[in-house]
């Protein structure tokens, strides 16, 4: 015999379920830096990405259940490519994509028994830092427009707090990366993160055409070992020779 469950209770149960699922995973940090937007994930896998390219100026980062956010990512790539092909490349925007994701997640949350256990960021790098757009989407389809920095995933609150203490506007890449990594270490007092266990990518507004680029392990460890306050001239030189965006 079915029991009556009030809608409030039903929604609350679903939300708790989704939150618990997300809290089990490791965290991802997104922050603005001097040349664009930096994404850092505590993710030792080289093949299962939490951070990906969607379009010329747009990237995607997610935490939670892999098959669920991967499904959303693949759909997002299709959405972007179809719109870019039928209209123009400039007509693909993070705002449009965030709306589509919000609708999807909202529908799934209210209409199915099992909500998606995911949290997403859709970010678009602009011509200048003021024009950068960072949208954060939660499992129930809520959208928040973020500025500066954000953390999501397991211990997101602790990481956010650590970020808040360290973050500054317009940091050079090496420094922004250090801030992100130190903040991710706040997940757990014992945690020490090395380049090997990090997934790092940027949307660099000074690149051409496709602005998304993954930073290889060697590059990440070089950046992390740079002396704080050292000249950032080195970055520019190294940036030239890293091969294709997906390398």
């Amino acid at each position: 015999m079915p029991f009556y469950v009030s809608p409030e209770q039903q929604m609350k149960d679903k939300a708790d379920y989704a939150r618990k699922g997300i809290a089990r995973g490791r965290s991802v940090v997104v922050l603005q830096y001097e040349d664009g937007i930096l994404f850092v994930a505590d993710n030792p896998s080289r093949a299962l990405h939490k951070i990906s390219e969607i379009y010329d100026r747009i990237a995607f980062a997610a935490v939670g259940k892999y098959n669920e956010f991967e499904n959303l990512r693949l759909g997002g790539v299709r959405y972007a490519d179809v719109n870019g092909y039928q209209y123009d490349r400039r007509d693909v925007t993070a705002r449009g994509l965030a709306n589509v994701y919000a609708q999807s997640l909202g529908t799934i949350f209210t209409e199915t028994n099992k909500p998606y256990e995911v949290e997403l960021v859709v970010a678009e790098v602009g011509e200048s830092a003021e024009l950068d757009q960072i949208y954060r989407l939660t499992f129930d389809g809520s959208v928040a427009d973020e500025h500066g920095f954000l953390a999501m995933g397991g211990q997101a609150d602790a990481v956010s707090q650590a970020l808040k203490e360290r973050f500054g506007e317009g940091l050079p890449l090496a420094e922004a990366l250090r801030v992100a990594v130190r903040s991710l270490e706040a997940q757990d007092s014992e945690r020490r993160l090395e380049a090997r266990s990090l997934e790092v990518a940027v949307l660099d507004r000074h690149r051409e055409h496709r602005l998304f680029r993954r930073l290889a392990e060697a590059r990440v460890s070089a950046l992390l070992s740079e002396e704080p306050g050292a000249a950032s001239v080195e970055d520019e030189v190294e940036d030239g020779g890293e091969g294709s965006p997906e390398s």
Binding site: A47, H49, S52, E53, I54, N71, L74, G75, V77, R78, Y79, D81, V82, G84, Y85, Q86, V100, Q103, S104, L105, G106, T107, I108, E111, T112, R210, S244, P245, E246
Partner: protein, 282 residues
């Protein structure tokens, strides 16, 4: 548009289905009319020769890469439809595509191919092998067969850098989707018989990248010399061929100044010898 389903939410159902990483296949299911080959031409369509046609393309390999070049003329019947059309494009980081035949369909095919490669790369997290790219293009050309039979044929030329074998490779196509790998050099379009003769005499296995570009510009000059649909270098307006090279460093379109200098030197040379450089007789 496809109906919404529970899992896809507001993304129409097809967006969520994981079945293919091919953009063309997806678009064919989602918006069939958006594919160039799917349109139905009215019976007894006349006047197709009045639709702009793109003409001559040449490609030349050299150790470590390949150079591709195209003239700038589009013709509609006996009229020059455009004198600065571009027919050589970046396909992805390590390949280039050029088109000859019906310009409108060719440009659409080229754009579709660019998205096809990028789409695959983003979804799968790896790039297609050069053969994989060439095969995808073949099936896209094949999709246009119906239009080709009615006079709207388009034929691409595909060239890329093979990272595994460290060399440039060229693939040509026929309107039925046949794919042929070419050795050393190739040319397509209305001026190709003349460009081919020129390439045959000028090609050497040990060309440098600069010399390969020069060979291309010479061959295009020879094509323009004898084919009315191919445009030569336009010194008065500063319109020169589009020349692009693909090497281990990726795709690079040569700057206007570089091509301008090459084209001027070719034209200068022709004042002395209108037939161009001669090959040794023995």
């Amino acid at each position: 548009m496809a109906s919404q389903d529970a899992l896809g939410g507001r993304l129409p159902g097809l967006f969520g289905s994981p079945d293919t990483s091919s953009f063309t296949e997806f678009l064919g299911a989602y918006a069939p009319d958006a594919l160039p080959g799917r349109r139905v031409l009215p019976q007894g369509a006349v006047g197709v020769e009045e639709i702009p046609h793109a003409t001559t393309i040449v490609a030349v390999t050299f150790p470590g890469g390949v150079v591709m070049a195209g003239d700038r003329r589009a013709t509609a019947g006996h009229v020059i439809a455009q004198r600065d059309i571009e027919k050589v494009f970046r396909a992805d980081e390590f390949s280039a595509i050029a088109i000859a035949g019906t310009a409108g369909i060719g440009l659409e095919l080229m754009r579709l191919f660019q998205v096809e490669l990028e789409h695959y790369e983003k979804r799968e997290g790896r790039t297609l092998s050069i053969e994989g790219k060439a095969n995808r293009l073949a099936s896209m050309v094949r999709g246009n067969l119906g239009m080709a039979m009615q006079g709207l044929a388009v034929v691409p030329l595909f060239a890329g850098y093979d990272e595994v074998e460290d060399r440039g490779r060229i693939f040509s196509y026929d309107p039925a989707g046949g794919r042929y790998e070419e050795r050393e050099f190739h040319t397509i379009g209305s001026g190709s018989p003349f460009a081919r003769g020129s390439l045959k005499k000028l090609f050497r296995a040990d060309l440098s990248a600069e010399d390969a570009a020069l060979v291309c510009v010479q061959a295009l000059y020879d094509a323009a010399d004898d084919d009315s649909a191919t445009g030569g270098p336009d010194l008065t307006r500063g319109i020169f061929p589009v020349v692009a090279s693909v090497t281990a460093d990726g795709y690079r379109r040569l700057g206007e100044d570089e091509v301008g200098a090459l084209a001027r030197s070719v034209v200068e040379g022709r004042y002395e010898a209108p037939g161009g450089p001669t090959a040794p007789l023995r």
